[in-house]
Amino acid sequence: MSTLTAAPITAPTIEYGELAPMLIIFGAAMIGVLVEAFTPRYLRKSIQMPITVLSMVGAFALTVWQGVRGVRSAAAMGAIAVDGPSLFIWGAILLLAIVSVLLINDDDHFVAEAAAVPGSAEEDQALSQGGAHTEIYPLVLFAVGGMMLFPAANDLLIMFVALEVMSLPLYLLCGLARRRRLLSQEAAMKYFLLGAFSSAFFLYGTALLYGFAGSVDLKAIATALSTVGGQDALLFIGAATLGVGLLFKIGAAPFQAWKPDVYQGSPTPITALMASGTLIAAFGALLRVFWVALGDLDAEWTPVLWGVAILTMVVGAVLAITQTDIKRMLAYSSIAHTGFLLTAVVATGKESQNANALSGILFYLLAYGFATVGAFAVVTMVRDPGGEAGHLSRWAGLGKRSPLLAGIFALFLLAFAGIPLTSGFFGKYAVFAAAVAGGAVQLVIVGVVTSAMAAFFYVRVIVLMFFSDPAPEGPTIAVPSMGTAAVVTLSAAATVVLGVFPQPVLDLAHTAAQSLFVR
């Protein structure tokens, strides 16, 4: 054991300044927990909401400032990479999180008393007393902090911790829907069990890679690829199980099964947060692992990801056609979009090619994130007596009841479909162009065909909204609160602006991608 009686311990250096955006979020989350403990119930919401939004805005401002300063380094002893892609992803996640929080702020999405059995006297009492779980805000903050840490983690342990910090609050948030609580609790359980299962895979992969390289540092693993010989079994099984864990988080087929269930059952604002933020964070992490740590192994993993990408696109597009629930349909569409994004992940090559692919992915993620948050925001506004009008048939004739809302929803759907002059088109174009340049022509063929199929069912919903006769007792359109209205407006504006004049954001993504990932 002589090796373990090591040299004196030196304190690690931590670049607090560079990590400040994340630290603000986590700090605010802890303050939020304290607020829960020490302030009277009636005051909590009015304290939590400003803390949440302000910390996010502050963190966003700091991220922008660091971007302007051109910070590109691996902070905290190389454990956390604060590089171009990280900063872009942080900014995107924070923006989308701010927007989602405005949506979450609406009172009636969340359960009054989570512990009360649905339909019991306790629940009625909690409802009549106007109870509310203000713990939601710190939970969201923790989740967002995890989302920021996940793609920035430069070693697998930090990545695992971030994964859990991101996921655990989301598991809980999923189960807190005010209406259809059984559905919501079921979604939470499914998400939790499958999520824990997948993180076990992630962890086992980490263990094997650690066994292979003797370190969990991404850079060290990359170096070990060329120096360590005779340990291929560890490497391949490790990379595969790690990949399973990551692919699960982005919802790629065949690990997509949780997505529709969870998206449908969760409170819609949380779905919006997951569909935008989690996807971005998980993609960032996936890219970092595969490009940085396993970059020299690409001959082995590209064929697998090819298969996964094709399967994901096909499954997403085909199953979306058969859906009758609007949130499920959006979930399957999210799966299809994951597949489109994967086409660019595969398209690696020279450095400039990688930078192009990366900037395409970053732009796509941001564009898709805004459209998706906007779409779910619209979903929250179309109400039946028992909650949101989930079934597609209830959306028939919405265009006659509320042309403006239906028009905006149609805009988001067109963006998903990738019709020109919406953000989706340029996103898809950037990603596919990168894939073609990277030699993945066959993938792009599948991509364009499935995106045409996908476009078909988006258009079908548009037709349903505008050209079908409204159901006699159709859903009501909730008068949007300030927050919801702001979310819808913002997202619609982003979708149009990114569709007509995407250059500034493309530039930003391009600059962010130029440096690639810090190694």
């Binding site: 609580r181 079921e186 069990l193 650690y210 969990v216």
Partner: protein, 98 residues
């Protein structure tokens, strides 16, 4: 020999994985996940020994803490659903379908 520990860890992981897939009680499924996490821990510690560095052992501590947090969240979710349904079988959770 450290190989034996690695084989044991792989076995535990596999048992856990199969358990998640075949067991029907949410609590048991959850315990199987915990088993998988602990299999990872065993692997980490073994590899730490093999490589002669401390990283793996420290990671094992991190994993324990994360697993504890997971237990808190997981049990909370399972208990709520049990109170509602009087059953913790994942087969009864069948409202969300295609």
């Amino acid at each position: 020999m450290t190989t034996h520990y690695l084989v044991l860890s792989a076995l535990l992981f596999a048992i856990g994985g199969v358990g998640v897939l075949v067991r029907r009680n949410a609590i048991v499924v959850f315990m199987c996940v915990e088993l998988m996490l602990n299999a990872c821990n065993l692997a980490f510690v073994t590899f730490a020994r093999q490589h002669g560095n401390l990283e793996g052992q420290i990671i094992a501590f991190f994993v324990m803490i994360v697993a504890a947090a997971e237990v808190v969240v997981g049990l909370a979710i399972i208990v709520t659903i049990f109170r509602t349904r009087r059953s913790a079988s994942v087969d009864d959770a069948n409202l969300l379908k295609y």
